[in-house]
Symmetry: C2
Subunit: 337 residues, 2 copies
C-alpha cells in the first residue's frame, strides 16, 4: 500500500503536476497551494518512488563506491569522506564490496542503479566499463585513460624513504603490492629507489619486495622474508598501511624491536595506524581532498561523458610516529649526526 502522487493530488484537490511541482521545489507555485499540498503530503505520509523517478529522469542521484571486500585499514575513513562529499552535491553513496577476482565481472555487469562509480583499489577496469562513468581512486590505471584521483605514490614512497634516511637508517627495504603486470616499475619501488639514489645509496639485493596484494598478511610474509636476509634491513618502506601493520607484527614475532632495530612506515594515513604500538608512521593522504575531488570528477564526467580524462594528484603529508623514531643508541652502521 505505497502512497502515490495521485493520492496526494486527490486529497489536496489538485492535479498531479502541482504536487510534483511542490515536491520538487519548483519555484513558481503560490504559497497557499504549496502549503495545502504539503499538508496533504504530510497527512498521507507520501514518499516519492525512486524507481519511477529514475525511470522518468534517467538519473538515480546515487554513486557507487566500489571497494575490495577484504577488511582493510583505511577504507572506512575514505568511505565516510566520500559519503560526506557526495551529500554536499546532492548525491547518495552506496558502498559495494567486491571480491578481488570476480571484480571485473561485478563492474562490467553494472549491478547498481547508480549514475557513476568510484573505483577504489587496484582492480583491473577498462574505461567506461558497463557504460558507467568511472573515476578511479588510488593508483592510476595501468594503461587506460580514466579519470583518477589519488596521491603520487612514487613521491610518497620517496618522501618516506627520505624521512627514514633523515632518522639515520641506511639499509632501507621496500614492500609494494598490487597487480604487477603492466607496470614497468611499481611506483612504490620507484620512489623508494629515487630517494635512495638521491642520497647516493642503492637498494640492496633482496630488499625490494612485491607482495601479491595489500593484505596485512602479505606484509607479514614479505617482512619475514626481509628479516631473514643475511644483511637485515634497518627500515622498511611499505606501500600501504596494511602492509606496514603486517610488517610490524612480523618484527614483533621475530623479536626485532621497532623502532630500535627496525623502522617501519606505511602509506595511507589510516585510522588503524594510530592504534598500533608503536604507532605507525605513515604518509597520510588527504582523504577529504580526495573524496571531494573524486565526487567533483564523477559529477563532471556524468555531465560530460566524452571529455578528456583528468588525473588529480592529491596532497600527502608525512606523519612521523613512534615506528620510525630516531634510534639514538642503536648499533647502526652509518648513523649520521
Amino acid at each position: 500500500m505505497p502512497t502515490t502522487l495521485r493520492d496526494v493530488a486527490q486529497l489536496a484537490q489538485v492535479s498531479v503536476k502541482t504536487v510534483s511541482n511542490v515536491v520538487n521545489g519548483y519555484p513558481h507555485v503560490s504559497a497557499g497551494m504549496r502549503r495545502r499540498v504539503e499538508a496533504a503530503v504530510e497527512a498521507i505520509g507520501y514518499r516519492p518512488n525512486r524507481s519511477a523517478r529514475t525511470l522518468r529522469t534517467g538519473r538515480t542521484g546515487m554513486l557507487a563506491l566500489i571497494v575490495p571486500a577484504a577488511d582493510l585499514p583505511g577504507i572506512g575513513g575514505l568511505a565516510r569522506a566520500v559519503v560526506r562529499a557526495a551529500a554536499g552535491r546532492g548525491y547518495r553513496v552506496v558502498v559495494n564490496p567486491v571480491d578481488s577476482d570476480p571484480a571485473r565481472a561485478a563492474i562490467a555487469n553494472p549491478p547498481l542503479p547508480v549514475d557513476g562509480c568510484l573505483l577504489l583499489a587496484d582492480l583491473p577496469a577498462a574505461p567506461g566499463v558497463g557504460g558507467l562513468p568511472l573515476v578511479r581512486l588510488g593508483r592510476p590505471a595501468p594503461g587506460g585513460h580514466v579519470d583518477r584521483v589519488g596521491i603520487d605514490h612514487a613521491r610518497a614512497s620517496r618522501d618516506a624513504t627520505v624521512h627514514l634516511l633523515g632518522t639515520g637508517r641506511r639499509r632501507i627495504a621496500a614492500i609494494d603490492a598490487g597487480p604487477g603486470g603492466p607496470f614497468p616499475t611499481p611506483p612504490g619501488i620507484q620512489g623508494y629507489a629515487d630517494g635512495l639514489r638521491a642520497a647516493g645509496l642503492a637498494p640492496l639485493p633482496g630488499h625490494l619486495l612485491q607482495a601479491p596484494s595489500h593484505q596485512r598478511a602479505d606484509g607479514y610474509r614479505a617482512a619475514r622474508t626481509l628479516l631473514a636476509q643475511h644483511l637485515r634491513p634497518d627500515a622498511v618502506v611499505c606501500a600501504s598501511d596494511a602492509l606496514a601493520v603486517g610488517t610490524l607484527c612480523a618484527a614483533f614475532d621475530a623479536g626485532v624491536r621497532v623502532p630500535e632495530d627496525l623502522a617501519v612506515i606505511g602509506v595511507g594515513g589510516s585510522e588503524e595506524g594510530r592504534w598500533t604500538r608503536p604507532a605507525l608512521s605513515t604518509v597520510s593522504a588527504d582523504t577529504g581532498f580526495i573524496a571531494r575531488q573524486a565526487v567533483a570528477r564523477i559529477v563532471a564526467r556524468i555531465a560530460e561523458p566524452h571529455a578528456a580524462p583528468v588525473d588529480v594528484v592529491a596532497p600527502h603529508t608525512l606523519l612521523p610516529r613512534a615506528s620510525t623514531r630516531r634510534a639514538d643508541r642503536s648499533g647502526m652502521l652509518h648513523a649520521s649526526r
Copy 2:
C-alpha cells in the same frame, strides 16, 4: 542511447514478450528462439533497466546494510559475509555508512531503493521505520520488537570473564559501550558480573565502565581511567574488539605489560584483533552464521511483513590469544594453580 527490450525485439524479429521471457529465464521458450534472442541481446549489448523492472515488479533485489560511518574493526568482515550470503539468495547488498547522530533520519527517510535493511550498530530505530522490513544485527533493540540476529552478549562477556579467571586473574574490570538509556544493565556488564559471582567474587568499585561508543578512543580513555585506579585491575573484559584495541594501546602507553600485568579480551573476532601485538584474545562471533541468518530473516520478513519478530542467537567461540596468556611469573595476588 540506452538500448531497450524493443530494440532487441526488433532486431530479432520477435515480440517484446519473447525477449522478456528469454531474459528472465522463462522455461517455455523454444531453443532456437532463445538462441536467436540471445544473439540479438549480445549483438546490441542490451542491459535491462533496473528502474523499470523495479517499478513494474515492486522489487529491487537489493538489501541495504546500514553501518556506522566510523572506521571500526570487524565491519569489513561482516559486510563481506553479508554480501556473500545475500548473493546466494539472489540479492545484492549495498553498504550504507551513516553518521551516528543523523542516523535516525537516514533510516526514517528510506534513502535507498531496497527491499529491506540490515541494521548494524546500536542505532536507535523504531520497528519498520520508513516502512521498510528491518533486521537488527548485534544487540537487541532496547524496547522494540524487531527481528534481530546476533550473539548473546551477556554470555559472551561471561565466557570472557570465566576465561580470565581460568588464567589466574582475579581483579577483573569491564568496559562496555553504547547508548545506556533504556538498558537496566548493559549486557556486557551483566555477563561479566555473573561470571565473577559464579566464582564467588564481586566487581570492585570503579571497575565497571560504560563508554559512550565503540570507538578505539573510547576504549583508550576508559582503560586509562581503569589503570589509574588505586587497586589496578589485572584484566579487562571489553564489550568489543574496538574497545579492546584502545585498551591495549592505553596499557602500552602506561608502561603496563600485556599479558603479564594486564590481560585484555574483546568481543567480535575481528580481523584487526589478529594484527595487534600481543594478538587480541576475543570472543568470536560466527559472522558467516550471522550473515546467513540475517539474510534469511530479512527475506522472510519481506515475504511476511507482519509475522512475529524473531530473535536469532548466533554461536560464539572464545579465541584465546596472547593478550590473555597465563602470566606464570607475575606478582599476582591470588594466582591459582
